[in-house]
Amino acid sequence: MVIPDYYEFGSRAHIMAGHDALEQIPGLLTSMGGQHPMVITDQGVARAGLVDILLQVLDSRITVKTIQDDVPADSDLKTVHTLAGQYKKYGCNAIIALGGGSVMDTAKGVNILVSTSSDNLLAFSGANALTHRLNPLVAVPTTAGTGSEVTRVAVISDPENLRKLLFTSGFLMPDAAVLDPRMTLSLPAPVTAATAMDALSHAVEACLCLGRNPLSTAHAHEAIALISHHLVPVIRQPDHKPGRLALATGAALAGMAFSNSMVGMVHTLGHAVGSVCHAAHGTCMAVLLPYGMAYNLHKTQPLLADLLLPMAGADVYARTRPADRAQKAIDWVGRMNQRLHRATGGFHAVRLQDIKAPDGRALVPRQLLPKIAHTALGDGSIFYNPEDLDYDDCLMVLEAAFDGAPLDLSRVKKG
């Protein structure tokens, strides 16, 4: 076991995972003194009937003061301030965040404002600006997922100034993360695939990046095994509750892992693609994951080799020569993307050029790759990547991912 010279690991959210996990919420809120919650969600979740499922399990101990379902796809300052006003107006004392990453980030931002009685969210941006515990926040993810239910980070955009604000603090972590398969049963196949691959990318990068440590690696390996084993079966049988719970658990474990060890170039490039082209986060991660693994191969070979076991199982691992295991892990991810592409009827993208809007329009044109590469240089995750990346390196990887061609490893500059 290789232990880094120094590391930290913490995950303070109370995690509840099970087929009846939602039923724990009334007790959780009561114990935290949060019997008058505001529910923050988005319209997609509301239309799917998930808010109704939640309300059914909230017994007489809990009085939901208001349901706010207007959270946009990207959390922004204006929405946060508006919802904070609603929280105070209705006399709420807790938040239930029911949704994906954007809902979670919005809820965390709202919680900052209502717990500090501040009107200025900007004052809390950056690291460790909060100094005391916030009001109760229960996170109920409806994707599997971003892992935001167990992270201490919120990303909130400031569209007026064309920037994204990062908030980092241990106090931002939700008090509880409730993982219930009923929340993801109706998730369409392409979204299931993309969000699960997002979670997989969290887990893989947590194992490879400079911040890796034994605890995050253990969580990540468990996550990889769960996602690898259950993703395709769930795509084929969407109402399989045990499989949905496995994916939700895997996403939470991956969130715990990367929250402590950070992520690397897959997220560096993926964030940039998402920001420039407005492509879905999980889809970008899925496409770029094998390329990020290949780029870092020369620095992380033994670590990549270790990933083959949770990904492909003991038989494949034992049959593969030790020198080949790392490449096999990379190939496995590529093949997973192919399998998902077939299983989703072509919706799951394998190349950047395949990423499409709902109307079929290609979202990532080749001529935007230089702009994406330039944008990537401003993403903080770049510094956690095992190998350095400059503009040319980013462009090289993006071009390969665009074409679906293997990365030319001879062009990777080695540090």
Binding site: P4, D5, Y6, Y7, E8, S125, G126, A127, N128, A129, R163, K164, L166, T168, C209, L210, G211, M262, L377, G378, D379, G380, I382, F383, Y384, E387, D388, K413, K414, G415
Partner: protein, 176 residues
């Protein structure tokens, strides 16, 4: 009976003195490189005028402050945070942890990965400042030390490795 005593906060004078000297020279080297190196020039060009950043240690220094004035000229502004707005803080969590980097016991990327420092300010600007710092370290340090300080030693052309480096050193000592 309980044995009770109060231990006042101590000071590590020599380490702080060393850090002050290193940060002073480093700041002047940043100023120098901003005048003579195209790579550093282009990083600063992307920053707004009057942008100021500091590198230092929690809770009260030492610090290095560098800023761009209203005419886009980059200057080393000394070691004080007072009397000026700082747009970006790169702060190590204690002087001891800052010392580890400036004594070459730990590289900047490794220190970052080990949660030794935190950032207040905009992330893209922080990324640019870290790249600038990497370039300065490669200019100032012999190769065997530079390899330990940065993630990947760049393959610079001869002119940048020799002439530009010499100009950075001379200007850093001279302060212009």
């Amino acid at each position: 009976m309980t044995d009770f005593m109060e231990i006042p906060p101590g000071r590590h004078r020599w380490k702080k003195l060393y850090l002050r000297c290193m940060l002073w020279f480093f700041g002047r080297a940043v100023q120098a490189a901003a005048r003579v190196d195209d790579g550093v020039k282009s990083e600063f060009a992307a920053m707004p005028d009057n942008f100021t950043f500091c590198l230092g240690a929690f809770p009260s220094g030492p610090y290095m402050v560098v800023g761009k004035d209203a005419h886009g000229r980059v200057r080393h502004l000394g070691a004080s945070l007072a009397d000026r707005p700082i747009h970006l803080h790169l702060m190590f969590k204690s002087p001891a942890l800052l010392f580890r980097v400036f004594a070459f016991q730990e590289s900047t990327p490794v220190a970052n990965a080990r949660n030794r420092l935190y950032v207040h300010g905009e992330v893209p600007q922080a990324c640019a400042v870290v790249r600038i710092m990497d370039v300065i370290q490669v200019f100032l340090l012999p190769k065997f030390l530079a390899k330990r300080a940065v993630k990947r030693c760049p393959a610079w052309p001869l002119k940048r490795r020799t002439l530009v480096r010499a100009r950075v050193y001379v200007r850093a000592f001279g302060g212009w």
